[in-house]
C-alpha cells in the first residue's frame, strides 16, 4: 500500500505539472464563462444554460484530461523506459499500475473539483443559487472519468500511445452512443441478438453516467440511481484494471 501511494503521489505530482492540463483547464473555464454570454441572450434561461454548459465543460475536458494525460503518463513510462529502474526496486507491476490509476484518479478529482467550484462560483456571482443537485451529475461524470482512465491504462499497456489515444476515444464515443448499437439489429437484420448483447457488455455504457439533463431540468435523481451507476462503474473499472494488471504482468519491457 505504501508503494502504491508513492506511485500515486508521483503520478499526481507529474500530471499537475503537465502543460496540456492547464490548456484544457483554461478552455474549460472559457466554456463555463461563455454560459454567461449565452444566458444574456436567453430570457430567464440563463441559469439552465450556465449549468448545462458548465457540466458539459466538466464532462468534455475531464474526458480529454483522462485521455491525454492518462495515455501520456503510462505510455511514456513504458516507451521511454522510466519504468525500468522503478521495477528494479521493490515495486511490483501490480502496485505500479494501481498507483498510476490512483494518481490519475486523484488528478481528475482535483480537476473536476476545480471546474465544479468554477461553475458554482459563476452561479453564485449571478445570484442564481448553488443547486446541490449538480453534484449528483458531477459525481456521475467523475465515475465515467474513472472508467475512461482504466481504459487508457489497459490500452496504453497493450499498444502505443497514439493507438491507445485513438482507440480509447473511439470507445468513449461508442459508449456515449450505445443506443445506436442497440438499433444495429434493424440496420443489419442478420445480426444475432447475442452478438449485440456482447457488444453492449464490452463497450462501456457511458449513457448511464449522463445525468446532466435530468439535473439541469429538475428531474429527480435518487440515491438508488447513484448506487446503481456506482456499482456499474466499480464492476467495469475493476474488470478493466484486472485485465490491465494481467497485461502488464505479461508485457516484456524491452
Amino acid at each position: 500500500m505504501r508503494r502504491v501511494a508513492a506511485v500515486a503521489r508521483n503520478t499526481f505530482r507529474e500530471s499537475v505539472r503537465e502543460r496540456v492540463l492547464y490548456n484544457l483547464l483554461f478552455f474549460a473555464v472559457i466554456m463555463t464563462l461563455s454560459g454567461l454570454l449565452l444566458g444574456e441572450l436567453s430570457i430567464r434561461q440563463d441559469a439552465k444554460i450556465i449549468k448545462d454548459l458548465g457540466l458539459a465543460a466538466i464532462d468534455l475536458f475531464g474526458t480529454l484530461i483522462a485521455l491525454f494525460v492518462g495515455v501520456g503518463l503510462v505510455s511514456k513510462e513504458i516507451e521511454r523506459r522510466s519504468l525500468h529502474p522503478l521495477l528494479a526496486k521493490p515495486l511490483s507491476r501490480d502496485e505500479f499500475l494501481l498507483g498510476k490509476f490512483a494518481g490519475l484518479g486523484f488528478t481528475l478529482l482535483v480537476n473536476v473539483g476545480l471546474m465544479t467550484g468554477g461553475l458554482y462560483a459563476t452561479l453564485l456571482a449571478l445570484r442564481r443559487g448553488a443547486d446541490p443537485a449538480l453534484l449528483k451529475a458531477v459525481f456521475a461524470i467523475y465515475l465515467a472519468l474513472l472508467v475512461t482512465v482504466a481504459l487508457t491504462l489497459l490500452l496504453s499497456i497493450l499498444t502505443s500511445a497514439a493507438v491507445a489515444s485513438v482507440s480509447t476515444l473511439c470507445l468513449v464515443i461508442a459508449g456515449r452512443y450505445s443506443d445506436v448499437i442497440l438499433n444495429l439489429g434493424d440496420v443489419v437484420p442478420g445480426m444475432p441478438a447475442w452478438a449485440l448483447r456482447a457488444v453492449m457488455i464490452l463497450i462501456p455504457n457511458f449513457r448511464n453516467f449522463d445525468l446532466k439533463d435530468r439535473v439541469v431540468y429538475g428531474d429527480p435523481v435518487s440515491f438508488g440511481d447513484l448506487g446503481w451507476i456506482t456499482a456499474y462503474a466499480v464492476a467495469y473499472t475493476g474488470t478493466v484494471i484486472t485485465l490491465a494488471v494481467i497485461a502488464l504482468r505479461r508485457r516484456e519491457l524491452t
Binding site: N10, S82, H84, P85, L86, L87, P90, L91, T254
Partner: protein, 321 residues
C-alpha cells in the same frame, strides 16, 4: 538473503525476440548463457552493441522473460521482492520525469524502498553531492543534459546502499570528468563490499575497473574469467618516445624498430624488449634524446581483435572515449 554462493548465478539463459512487421520472425538475443559472478567484485559484461549485454541485465531484473534457463541473484530467484530490496540498477540512456527535480525523484525512489523521511532527505543530499548534481537538486529534469541524467541515474541506483549494482553502460554520455567520477564511485562501491555488474562496449573502462569479465558475442559467452587469465600480462614490446631525430638518423636505427607514430618532431617507436638497450644507444649516438620508455602489454582491445576478430555485422566496438 543467502550469504553464501555467487552474487549472480546464470544457468543456460536463452532469449529471442519477435521481429518483422508481423512479428513472425525471431532473433536470438541470448543463447544458453551461463555465468557466475562472485560477491564483492567488479564484473564487466563486455561485448559489441547487440551482443546481448542489456538483454542479460533485463532478464536478471525481471523486465524480460527468458525462453529457457534460470538465474539467481544473491541466492534468490529472479524477481523476488527481497532481492530487489538489495539491488541497484542504472539503465542504458536513462530517462526520468521531465517535470520532477532530482530531489523529488530520489525521494520517490527512497519511498519505494520504505526509507523514513529524514533518511530520504539525507541520502538524496549525499548522493547528489557524490554525483556532482548538488547545485541542480531543484532543477526540473527536462533541462538536464544526457550526462546529468546519467549521473542522476547512478544516484537513484544507490539510494538503498545496494549489495549488488547493475550498471548498463554507465559511462555513456559522460564527459571525461564525469567518467572519472563514475570510475571512482564504482571502485568505492567495491571497497564498501558491494558487487558491481556492469555492461560496456568501452574496453578501456573494463580494463581499468574489472576484476573479472565475460565477453559476449552474438548472445553467447566467448571468454570469461579474471582479466589476467584472459589477457597475456607479459610485456609484448616497448614503446619509446624520442626527439631530435631526422629522417636520415631514423633510417639507421637497429633492426626491429618500428615507427609507430609521429608527433611533430617527436617519434613514438615500438621495439622488442631485447632490442631496447641498442635502440637507446643508437638514439643518443645520432644526437637524439629518449624522453620516455613504456612497457606495453596486451590490452583488451588487442585481445578482442586478435582472438575474436572484427565485429560481426550489426555489432560495434569502442576502444575508449
Amino acid at each position: 538473503m543467502t550469504e553464501a554462493g555467487p552474487a549472480v548465478d546464470i544457468r543456460g539463459l536463452s532469449k529471442s525476440y519477435r521481429i518483422g512487421h508481423l512479428r513472425g520472425q525471431r532473433r536470438q538475443a541470448l543463447r544458453d548463457l551461463s555465468l557466475q559472478v562472485p560477491r564483492g567484485v567488479v564484473f564487466g559484461c563486455l561485448g559489441p552493441n547487440g551482443s546481448g549485454k542489456s538483454t542479460t541485465l533485463k532478464l536478471l531484473l525481471g523486465l524480460l522473460f527468458p525462453d529457457s534457463g534460470s538465474a539467481t541473484i544473491l541466492g534468490q530467484p529472479i524477481g523476488a521482492r527481497a532481492v530487489r530490496q538489495s539491488l541497484g540498477y542504472l539503465p542504458e540512456n536513462p530517462y526520468f520525469y521531465d517535470y520532477l527535480t532530482p530531489n523529488e525523484y530520489l525521494d520517490y525512489a527512497g519511498r519505494l524502498f520504505g526509507l523514513p523521511p529524514g533518511a530520504r532527505k539525507d541520502r538524496a543530499r549525499e548522493l547528489l553531492d557524490l554525483v556532482g548534481l548538488a547545485e541542480a537538486a531543484e532543477v526540473h529534469m527536462r533541462r538536464f543534459s544526457k550526462g546529468m541524467l546519467q549521473r542522476l541515474g547512478l544516484a537513484q541506483a544507490l539510494v538503498n546502499r545496494p549489495e549488488l549494482v547493475f550498471l548498463d553502460e554507465p559511462m555513456s554520455g559522460l564527459d571525461p570528468l564525469g567518467r572519472r567520477s563514475v570510475r571512482e564511485i564504482i571502485l568505492r562501491l567495491k571497497e564498501e563490499g558491494s558487487t558491481v555488474f556492469f555492461s560496456t562496449h568501452i574496453l578501456s573502462d573494463a580494463e581499468t575497473l574489472c576484476d573479472e569479465v565475460a565477453v559476449l558475442r552474438g548472445g553467447s559467452v566467448v571468454a570469461k574469467g579474471r582479466l589476467d587469465q584472459i589477457l597475456s600480462l607479459d610485456v609484448t614490446h616497448m614503446e619509446v618516445l624520442v626527439s631530435g631525430l631526422g629522417p636520415q638518423e631514423v633510417s639507421g636505427l637497429p633492426a626491429g624498430v618500428e615507427i609507430f607514430r609521429t608527433m611533430g618532431e617527436r617519434l613514438v617507436l615500438h621495439v622488442p624488449e631485447t632490442q631496447l638497450g641498442r635502440l637507446v644507444v643508437a638514439v643518443e649516438q645520432r644526437g637524439g634524446r629518449v624522453l620516455s620508455v613504456q612497457p606495453v602489454r596486451q590490452s583488451l582491445e588487442d585481445y578482442f581483435f586478435a582472438e575474436i576478430g572484427h565485429p560481426a555485422k550489426g555489432e560495434a566496438w569502442t576502444a575508449g572515449a
